[in-house]
């Protein structure tokens, strides 16, 4: 293990572990729509692992994060199949 780091592993596992660190408290950022929510910061650690693996610059990293946020949040704007489930959940209370 590298003395000055948290250790090294494969990109997917680094993304998994670091992503879990970000996720654990459930305090991360959120994008809200009616009946829906997503957490676009889930992309960050995956992109960080990819950028480290590819030797990407900080600029590349920020660009990739911006693109990922754009896409994930746009996808949330699409009509959802979950709306009905949420509504039923609230009615059954």
């Amino acid at each position: 293990m590298h003395p000055h780091r948290g250790g090294l592993t494969s990109p997917d596992r680094a993304a998994h572990y670091n992503g879990c660190l970000v996720r654990y408290l459930d305090f991360m950022d959120a994008y809200l729509r009616p009946d829906e929510v997503n957490h676009p910061c889930d992309n960050i650690m995956a992109i960080l692992a990819a950028a480290e693996h590819m030797g990407g610059s900080g600029e590349d990293f920020v660009t990739a994060v911006a693109i990922a946020y754009e896409i994930q949040n746009r996808l949330l704007d699409l009509p959802t199949m979950r709306a009905h489930i949420v509504r039923r959940h609230w009615l059954s209370r």
Partner: protein, 152 residues
Amino acid sequence: MVENDDQSQSYLLGSRAVFFAMAAGGQAHALSASNSDVEIAALKQRLRLMEQKLETSRGFSDPTSVSTEKTMTSTYTVEKIAAFVDGCSNSAIQKDLRDLVARHLLDSIGCAIGAIGAKVTHDIRAVVDAFGGKQICTCRYAPSSGRFDVAG
């Protein structure tokens, strides 16, 4: 390889178009053996239309083109997303947006630091260590050393 495949496909479609043109009522014109330019032109036009119809039904937009890469249209959302990503460059992201990304990055790092000491994250780290993997990407925190690595 791809070019050859496409050509043979378009030849195949061409011969099928002739067959369908004859089967679909073109034989009356063919049997009459008329040499008039007008009728030949009309038959040619009819063939062209049928070829187009066949090729659009098979998903080819341009029957004369050989390269599939240039003519492939983005029909699925995932293809449109890929095209969007491919068209983005560093210059496409403005300074104010970069500052916003930095803010979200800082927020995420704060969340990750907040997770230090949680048993679940130690367990996940144990799984990652147990399974190994090619050592090329940095884990941000090592429970054993107590170090949180932000800079990478």
